[in-house]
């Protein structure tokens, strides 16, 4: 049955200039005919610390693009299982010629299709003079030295990754970049940073995005463009610091985020910091600034537990409880649920790296018997069991790889498209990924029983997988 559409798009977002105080977006929902004006602003004062006096116009445009994606993604209702939402964005920029080029548009639309499941289109208009203060003010020049700019989410991977990089990177200094429109996350980014107490080597830059007058507008529940927005703004920050690389500290298991079972389809698992997402963001930023720029995850081949071991080396275990991993934070203390997949991976990593987890979670500290709190755990264990059986088929890496890629074809795509960016041959990258999943399975074997203890009421007496059960 062919679909006939009344409109060729579902939403049109017409942005005014992105500003610090009076910015707004005009939203049209074509099918319902509803229209709305919503305030959207960026607070970018932290960008006054930069290496060049003049604020590059392409970077200002990159920031505006990130803000427009953030706002459109939050304000358009989108679905993974049902018909794709068609989103049209009209944005005034300083150099529309570059952004309206077909090369740039194709890359941008592909990236957003891959990360959000919706169909996006863009129209970039020439804007009048920008009202943003940061472009008219001079810079507060930073001392030029080698600096590693990294995303700073306030999460455990960011913290553990930082300590690992402090030990291994040649960079003289680190600039941690945070953003978002959530006050709690924003405050947490600062709190974790302040607890580091390494003021001369590590700085923090935060650029929040704020909505105003949006309370009555129904927002998208599944905000899959968050990673894209974060990396685009992080790239702007890195470029302003004279760097051509933005670092993302994320463990390989979480970054690749394979489906737990076949029932998980496409974007039901986020691709926020997926290697192919980072590769595409690199391409877009490079296209815009006219030179090679890379978004790089140095921990693609590390498990979360391996990252956490770096924290243990520095005896920074106490900082762990300050970080947030939860996908479903509660409003009251304790805020982290303890049973979503991100909380479970966190618990598994801490247990496997022998770090005492002092985090307060809803589970098991409070009885929560109304929901099936072991749902995510069961799915994760099923995946571990699947990977284990695929790896156990043979000791030959080529046979193991064939088995893994038959079940998870995306792994072939990752190697095919990103091995050269990783400076690896295809075969070397395959072996590193096999090792990553082998380590992950081993960690569950060794530390899984500690996690299961939290769920003892919910899972007692069950084989944890329908397939060959993993030993825990």
């Amino acid at each position: 049955m062919e679909e006939h559409y009344k409109f060729d798009k579902d939403y049109t977002f017409t942005f005014g200039p992105i500003e610090n105080g009076n910015g707004s977006v005009h939203v049209i929902e074509h099918n319902s005919g509803l229209e709305d004006h919503i305030g959207i602003n960026i607070f970018d004062q932290d960008f006054q610390y930069r290496s060049s006096h003049k604020f590059p116009t392409v970077v200002a445009d990159l920031i505006d693009l990130a803000v427009s994606i953030h706002a459109s993604d939050r304000l358009a209702l989108q679905s993974i299982r049902y018909e794709q939402t068609r989103i049209h964005v009209i944005l005034p920029v300083r150099v529309p010629e570059v952004m309206n080029s077909s090369t740039f548009l194709v890359k941008l639309v592909n990236l957003l299709g891959w990360t959000t499941a919706s169909q996006w289109s863009f129209e970039f208009l020439k804007c009048a003079d920008s009202e943003r203060l940061i472009e008219r003010q001079g810079a507060i020049p930073v001392i030029p030295r080698s600096c590693e700019v990294a995303l700073w989410s306030g999460g455990l991977d960011a913290l553990a990754g930082l300590y690992a990089r402090l030990a291994s990177s040649d960079a003289e200094s680190f600039l941690l970049f945070g953003t978002g429109s959530n006050n709690i996350t924003y405050a947490r980014q600062k709190q974790v940073y302040e607890s580091l107490k390494i003021p001369y080597r590590v700085d923090l830059s935060r650029i929040p995005i704020r909505f105003t007058g949006s309370n009555l507008h129904r927002k998208n529940k599944i905000s899959r463009a968050r990673g894209v927005v974060f990396t685009l703004l992080g790239s702007a920050c890195a470029y302003l610091m004279g760097q051509k690389t933005l670092h993302v500290y994320e463990n390989g298991i979480g970054a690749i985020n394979l489906p737990y079972r076949k029932s998980a389809v496409g974007l039901e698992h986020t691709r926020s910091v997926h290697p192919l997402t980072l590769l595409q963001v690199s391409g877009i930023v490079s296209e815009l600034i006219g030179e090679k720029f890379t978004v790089y995850n140095p921990f693609l081949f590390w498990t979360k537990a391996e990252m956490c071991k770096e924290l243990a080396k520095y005896e920074k275990d106490d900082l762990v409880a300050l970080t947030m991993s939860c996908d479903s934070p509660h409003r009251q203390q304790p805020t982290q649920c303890g049973y979503c997949s991100s909380c479970i991976l966190r618990k598994q990593a801490l247990a496997a790296s022998h770090i005492k987890d002092k985090t307060s979670y809803v589970l098991p500290s409070k009885n929560k018997r109304t929901d099936d709190v072991s749902l995510h755990l069961r799915h994760m264990l099923d995946q571990v069991s699947t990977i284990q059986s695929l790896l156990n088929v043979s000791r030959t890496p080529s046979a193991q790889w064939q088995g893994l890629t038959k079940q998870f074809p995306i792994l072939d795509d990752i190697v095919d498209r990103s091995a050269s960016a990783e400076n690896l041959t295809a075969s070397e990258m395959q072996q590193k990924l096999i090792q990553l999943y082998q380590s992950y399975v081993n960690e569950w074997d060794n530390a899984g029983s500690q996690i299961l203890a939290n769920f003892s009421d919910q899972i007692s007496g069950m084989p944890l997988s329908n397939r060959s059960p993993i030993t825990v």
């Binding site: 049955m1 679909e3 009344k6 579902d10 929902e29 099918n31 319902s32 209702l77 989108q78 679905s79 993974i80 299982r81 049902y82 018909e83 794709q84 939402t85 068609r86 592909n110 299709g113 891959w114 169909q119 129904r218 529940k221 599944i222 905000s223 968050r226 985020n257 737990y260 079972r261 076949k262 029932s263 998980a264 389809v265 496409g266 974007l267 039901e268 698992h269 986020t270 926020s272 996908d327 479903s328 979503c340 997949s341 991100s342 749902l375 995510h376 069961r378 799915h379 099923d382 890629t405 038959k406 074809p409 795509d413 095919d416 498209r417 899972i459 007496g461 069950m462 084989p463 329908n466």
Partner: protein, 225 residues
């Protein structure tokens, strides 16, 4: 097309988080009865296979012809590429995979349907790449068959709850065995559906297999209680 309703964004029974993984807690309405029949184990394997097959057929028809068209486009692209080179082992797999992604990307429809078709197409590509498949002449049917298989797994087999005890107190191992028993019938039907749908360019007229005729008792036959 209307905008997705609030209910469609937050499906009943799903765990839904802002940027977290969505994990399905159980079967959709269409597949509950087949699951319960399998657990109860009252029917023969053939009868047990018919209920999930009937649900699967209904589901496939409901999902529409987008996967038929996508399979066709992807198969054509693959055949063009291989014919231009003349040798499967010399195919640039990255280029073909990217082309498949582009085809899906440029087609408007449900993300989930496009992803399931992509999975099927990439699985066929995987088999060619690693020598488990050697011919491309059947590519349209093979990809569409793969899609039907993906629907079966994603909507039924891998949506069966991971619980210690199933409906009617059935042990997971027993249920696994029963699923194993019905799968040959299901896969045979899927193959026929793929042939028919590729031929018709539509899933509209796929049919359930005929019931096996019950052998009539010959009055002269000694049935030997």
């Amino acid at each position: 097309m209307g905008l997705p309703s609030k209910k469609s964004l937050l499906q009943v029974g799903d765990e839904n988080m802002p940027d977290g993984d969505i994990v399905h807690s159980g079967l959709g309405r269409l597949y509950k009865k087949p699951y319960e029949w399998l657990c109860e184990g009252k029917a023969t394997s053939e009868e047990c296979a018919r209920t999930p097959l009937a649900a699967l057929k209904k589901d496939i028809i409901r999902k529409g012809n987008l996967p038929v068209r996508l399979s066709q486009y992807m198969a054509e692209r693959l055949i063009q590429t291989v014919n231009a080179i003349g040798d499967i082992s010399a195919v640039n797999w990255t280029a073909v995979n990217t082309a498949f992604d582009q085809i899906a990307q440029q087609t408007h429809g449900s993300h989930a349907l496009k992803e399931l078709t992509l999975r099927a197409a990439k699985s066929f590509l995987h088999d060619l790449r690693y020598g488990q498949e050697t011919t491309i002449s059947n590519a349209p049917t093979a990809i569409l068959k793969g899609f039907f298989h993906e629907v079966y797994e994603s909507e039924f087999k891998d949506r069966i709850p991971l619980t210690p005890t199933h409906h009617a107190g059935v042990d997971p191992t027993i249920l696994d065995q029963r699923i194993g028993n019905i799968e040959p019938t299901i896969f045979t039907a899927i193959q026929k559906w793929a042939n028919k749908a590729v031929h018709d360019g539509s899933v509209k007229n796929i049919r359930l297999p005929r019931r096996e005729k019950i052998k009539e008792i010959d009055l002269n036959e000694n049935i030997g209680w």
